[in-house]
């Protein structure tokens, strides 16, 4: 199979990721942070190694700020629901995934208000200004995707974060699509909260995500329980990461994630990005010559975006195109709305959806050539 649905989940994992998960389950499947025996300590050591690898990748000085979750959706819910109270106002972009929008819409039933900032793929100044215009004295939080999961458009998140801080507003970065493929420097950018998926660009298994808290303002907890620490205290610990890690961690997932992050550190984010963007540019150049295909960005925008490309085909539903590619050419893509109503509404693609192409480090030029051939063969 030619797998081009890596924005949903990277399918081809580095072999070290698979062996790390397997080794954990075979050799030290014990509960970290709960006991003092040898296997428990090995397990705990593996967990902290993953915190350290993530700290290196995102440039943070204290690995305690790295909190493991079940995925990016949980991380986003922890920030959004842990911070926003009735009367608060929140700003999001018009490219947000439902993982951001739905928790905020839910909170809007309880007195939280929100605004949607218009973004401009080709004009960062106008994007920043859109956010500025929406800030008011109730604004507590801006939640913003680093890059659209549908169109790849990259937002000037460092500038938006600076803007937020200028007005005393907290900033949360949704890096579901960018972690591992776009540089993220938390210490330099001063993001308050960063939410990541483990199973996408970080090449970990499903079921593990990350929340990095780089602020003294700690969200309320959504879940309380056993942490293996301060067991005689009936209140949830205040310190990180225990405050947000109740219950047994997904250690097999964390071991796999650690290997995935080490793979990225070894290859470098810049090299991974360059490889994937070149494939996307090649695809873009080929598809723009196909009269039946509609693209949603020019080549320059594409080159500075995350390595994701959406297109549609004249007189064909996106699901039909994706099915054709799967059935006839064994090419995996994703069609429809990609859990991103706002992004499709913005681009006028709600009725038909789009076909999304998302390569990974393991995608080859031949894979893209085969995709181009398949699309050009459409009747």
């Amino acid at each position: 199979m030619i797998y081009l649905d890596n924005s949903a989940t990277t399918h081809h994992k580095p072999p070290t990721v698979i062996s790390a998960v397997s080794d954990m389950l075979k050799h030290y499947s014990a509960n970290p942070g709960r006991s003092g025996h040898r296997l428990s300590m090995i397990s705990a050591q593996k967990v902290i190694e993953c915190r350290q690898a993530l700290s290196q990748l995102f440039n943070i000085s204290d690995e305690s700020k790295v909190i493991f979750t079940s995925g990016c959706t949980q991380s986003l819910n922890m920030v959004i629901k842990g911070l926003l109270k009735p009367g608060d106002h929140c700003i999001i972009s018009d490219l947000e995934h439902n993982s951001v929008v739905r928790p905020i819409v839910k909170l809007s039933q309880y007195g939280v208000s929100y605004s949607v900032a218009k973004t401009y793929a080709d004009d960062d100044d106008k994007t920043v200004e859109s956010f500025r215009e929406l800030i008011n004295d109730k604004t507590k939080l801006i939640v913003c995707t680093h890059a659209s999961n549908v169109f790849g458009f990259r937002l000037p998140v460092e500038r938006i974060c600076k803007l937020a801080h200028k007005y005393g507003v907290l900033f949360c970065l949704d890096s579901a699509q960018s972690a591992g493929v776009l540089p993220i420097n938390i210490s330099e950018s001063d993001f308050d909260y960063v939410c990541c998926a483990g199973h996408k660009g970080l090449y970990g298994p499903m079921g593990v995500g990350v929340l990095i808290i780089n602020s003294d303002i700690l969200p309320d907890t959504l879940i309380e329980g056993g942490t293996g620490s301060e067991s005689d205290n009936l209140n949830q610990p205040l310190f990180l990461p225990d405050r947000y890690e109740s219950g047994t961690l997904n250690v097999p997932g964390i071991c796999g994630l650690c290997s995935g992050v080490n793979f990225i550190l070894n290859k470098t984010v810049d090299a991974i990005n360059a490889k994937e963007i070149n494939l996307i540019k090649k695809l873009h150049s080929a598809l723009k010559n196909n009269d039946r295909v509609t693209l949603y960005s020019d080549i320059n925008t594409c080159a500075r975006s995350a390595p994701v490309l959406s297109f549609s085909v004249e007189n064909m539903n996106s699901e039909a195109v994706s099915k054709y590619l799967s059935d006839k050419f064994n090419i995996a893509t994703r069609a429809g709305l990609h859990c991103s109503y706002l992004a499709h509404k913005k681009m006028g693609t709600l009725s038909n959806g789009t076909v999304r192409i998302s390569p990974s480090y393991f995608t080859t030029e031949n894979d893209i050539n085969r995709l181009i051939y398949a699309i050009n063969k459409l009747n």
Binding site: G33, A44, I48, S229, F239
Partner: protein
């Protein structure tokens, strides 16, 4: 006695602390915190056989939360 057990709240802190002390060539060993009168912790501690005062200072300077010190022989 030098109170060679440095009590920390969790295994994460214990491992962070050990990594820091390793960089200073101070030997330490992570252990479960024993049940000790007046010290409430279902947590971990570092056994530092030598230079424990220096280790304590280094850990404080590196923002390691220390919740107590006890004699190893007393437990």
């Amino acid at each position: 006695m030098e109170k060679q057990l440095i009590l920390v709240p969790s295994v994460t802190y214990a491992m962070k602390a050990k990594n820091i002390l390793d960089k200073y060539n101070i030997k330490s060993y992570i252990e479960r915190t024993p049940k000790i009168h007046q010290v409430n912790s279902c947590g971990y501690c570092l056994f530092v056989p030598e230079n424990v005062e220096k280790a304590h200072d280094i850990l404080l300077r590196n923002s390691i939360k220390i919740i107590g010190r006890v004699d190893r022989d007393a437990v």
